[in-house]
Amino acid sequence: MIKDVTAVPFKSGDWNTTMNVYDFVVKNIRPYQGDASFLSGISAKTNRLWDVVKKELLKERAKGGVLAIDTETISNMTAFAPGYIKKEDEVIVGLQTDQLLKRAMKPFGGIKLVESAVKEKGLTVSERVIDIFNYAKNHNEGVFNAYDSEIRAFRSKHVLTGLPDNYARGRIIGDFRRLALYGADQLIKFKKADLNKVGGEMTEHKVRLREEINSQISALKDMITMAAAYGCDVSRPAENAREAVQWVYFAYLAAVKEQDGAAMSLGNVSSFLDIFIERDLKAGLITEEEAQEIIDQFVMKLRLVRHLRPGSYDEIFGGDPTWVTEAIGGTLHDGRTKVTKTSFRFLQTLYNLGSSPEPNLTVLWADGLPEGFKRFCAQVSIDTSSIQYENDDLMRGTRGSDDYGIACCVSYQEIGKSIQHFGARANLPKALLIALNGGKEEIDGVEVIKNIPALPEGPLEYNQVMGVFKQTLTELARVYAKAMFIIHYMHDKYYYERAQMALVDTDPRIDIAYGAAGISIIADSLSAIKYAKVTPIRDERGLTVDYKIEGEYPKYGNDDDRVDNIAKEITHFFITELRKHNTYKGSKPTLSLLTITSNVMYGSNTGATPDGRKKGEPFAPGANPMHGRDCSGAIASLNSVCKLDYRDAQDGISNTFSMIPKSLGDTREEQVNNLVTTMNGYFNKMAHHLNVNVLNRETLMDAYEHPENYPQLTIRVSGYAVNFVRLSRAHQLEVITRTFHESM
């Protein structure tokens, strides 16, 4: 057997002379049509490492979710000495700090939030760091310098929530493959060439660009230094499979050492790495077990990414997620599948290391995906409830690229060519209540929107309500757009993502990803007003406190066009309004129907709604129907969500689907087949996203009572997965009450 990689050269092309990872992938990818039978189990080294990690993870949970915090150091690529789990067993090295699971301070998003997170754990930020911020400004401060009273009112009244104005915005995906394919030296050359092109008469744009490119170059130099501390030379390209994985990981590690954005995705690295792995296998340099070992250890490292978060953050993003989202599968424009053996190897980590919420494994489902892969995905879903699915045919067709990853939970992002600015979300039911209260917020009675006419006494009249609601949404869109402009301007200014941006084309296209929560409540509320008789009950201040609903009305989640079309109409209206406003750097508005776990928080801050939902009750997650109202069976429920138009919500339409195992069929074979068929059916109807949970409710109840028995129990929530036992009690109960689809 040959033992030399040069005997198996890569196919050359445009990628040899210009920055073009895509060209490398297209020329060299080896699609795999087979089944999962080639996969290896866990290696002895990985097993020993994982044992160490599991013990530390238990300690972390026992200590309230945080094992240790470094309160002296401002984290960046080179701030910490190298950290190891058990050096002699690590084939992939690198930790965010010098100690496993120790969290670091990244205060440029907002020093206040860092201070409170540290204080909650009974520690204090060092005086030196505090003092630095007596001189240096951070993102949070910049934003609040520019906010106006309108934005502040919308924010404090929970109309706009989760805005990245006091923490890092995240969502920007570097093309981490670039470091492996080109090495940092070549990347610096490309960036220098870009810099030299920005000349002539200066504009604000050009000045900013010149500064950005130089920050990126400094980041690439720091990557070299960071990797050198681990004995690796990333100034040159990776020369074998282990190095390719290691280089990609270093590039990602650079990003998570510098930034603690809410969601920091990995991109779509698996089939790129497969090219190196297959070459090494062919050259006889590694065995299948070693190939799996490299991937297992890479994924183990990704599971250990930690950020420092305060308790308040947990309300919005429950379960301490990091969204190391990796998109697996999909299709090339030329019709070939992007499924490779390494797509399987990534999923196999859920067996070798047990189920886990991170990395957030996202399968890009296409009608033409190889059958063997579809079946393996379904099997892994049934066994672990750890993966989510997105419609590759839909995204590729609508958005245009066949080389994209998933930013945050569910949203398409072309890798290396475009980025996205995270826009948190607007509370639509709150907006409806403001509309029904003449512009006043329904709980405190403070006027937040002017010139909304008061509605006449008596039952609500649909056209009147629709009129004032749309007027409210128009105002909401205007204020929302202002807030996002300010936030992203300041984030670039005070907390620029130099590590990720060093791995993205200079001056990329940008999406501004707005979001909306509570679409199912809106649909049901407006349907109730239209088809039943809804009379507001008002208190002495004239504010609605409840609604008297007489008669039946169609509910979202039952494949009934009468109500499903209302959800469509409002989504279309809202994005149309958002598109009318200025955006920072000319970014293009998109919208998500997604809540993360904030559906619980939104609910607790929102009064009773005309659909019969009581004050404080949680919203349904994402675009899901409200709990228990989708009573026409699983498929009717899926069909309602399918109708939402992806063109109106290109940042994603999240649907979380929970089934008991038995409901999928009698035998395991049938369960796998039926899940594949269901997903084919759902995605053929142009649906965008599906979280798949295959669990018994009793398992969750038992885990609620005895968390110690379920350290790795994973469940998909809205666009991501969590360790069930790391959710707050309120979130756990909310998950347990969700609709589980069972058979008669």
Partner: protein, 261 residues
């Protein structure tokens, strides 16, 4: 209250009156237990058998349930066809579908016209020309043969098994596919000699692709209480693991594809 009296005259009316509508009990959009693949399952209303172990006594009364247009059902099936894949489709179960065989022929023809697979879950009690016509439009018959011994079949259902066995023979003669179903009830249907006899009766059938053993359970018990009917098997335990294994073992001697549900 005891059983509804057997409703022969009403049953005839059920088949003939209101040809555009089916009398149904309920719909399941994500059926995975009644035929292959993912299926829309229509549970029709009304049955002539009075099985002591009936899990759905609320489907017995031919006057119960609700009427739904056949057009409407076809429309619904069409909206779900994307999920059916290559194996799935529509199953009509019950109650006893053959009580509405003429209407079901209309329904199945309409489904076939738009390329949807049809499956019928029946006790095989009615065996006339109209039934035969329906079976022509039935891609897969799920035939419940509740006992091989006629005396026991009477005790179990109130009626003879002769019609059911004849219908099985008819299906075999047409060469069209079927699955046989057998509910395993301790003390009622688990006698080793009768299991053996049942299996021998069908072992040479070429149209039987699968045999399903459905262990008796108490999940339907509350429905009897709700209907204020006296549940003959109240408190009876489902078959033990050994009991199930024994039945599977026996059937495995005679059939290639035995599934314990």
């Amino acid at each position: 209250m005891l059983y509804f009296p057997l409703q022969d005259l009403e049953a005839a009316a059920l088949n003939l009156d209101d040809p555009e509508h089916l009398r149904i009990h309920s719909l399941e959009t994500f059926g995975t237990h009644d035929g292959p693949g993912v299926r829309m399952v229509v549970f029709v209303q009304g049955c002539q058998f009075r099985c002591v172990y009936c899990q759905n006594p609320d489907t017995l009364d031919v006057h119960g349930g609700m009427l739904i247009g056949i057009d409407e059902l076809v429309k619904r099936a069409d909206r779900q066809r994307s999920y059916f894949g290559k194996d799935g489709g529509v199953t009509v179960s019950g109650g006893e579908p053959l009580l509405q065989r003429n209407k079901l022929t209309t329904f199945f023809k309409a489904l076939h016209a738009i390329g949807i697979n049809t499956c019928l879950d029946s006790n095989g009690r009615l065996n006339d020309a109209a039934t035969h016509e329906l079976l022509e439009h039935t891609d897969l018959l799920l035939l419940d043969v509740k006992h091989i011994n006629d005396e026991w079949h009477h005790k179990l259902t109130g009626l003879t098994n002769k019609n059911t066995l004849d219908l099985a023979a008819h299906r075999e003669s047409t060469g069209k596919r079927m699955w046989l179903r057998y509910v395993l009830v301790p003390g009622w249907t688990d006698q080793p000699e009768f299991l053996e006899e049942w299996a021998k009766h069908f072992t040479r059938y070429k149209t039987v692709d699968r045999v399903e053993i459905i262990p008796f359970h108490q999940l339907g018990s509350h429905k009897w209480d709700l209907l204020k009917m006296n549940y003959p098997l109240k408190g009876l335990e489902g078959p033990t693991l050994e009991g199930k294994k024994a039945a599977v073992h026996t059937f495995n001697k005679y059939f290639n594809n035995v599934v314990l549900k």
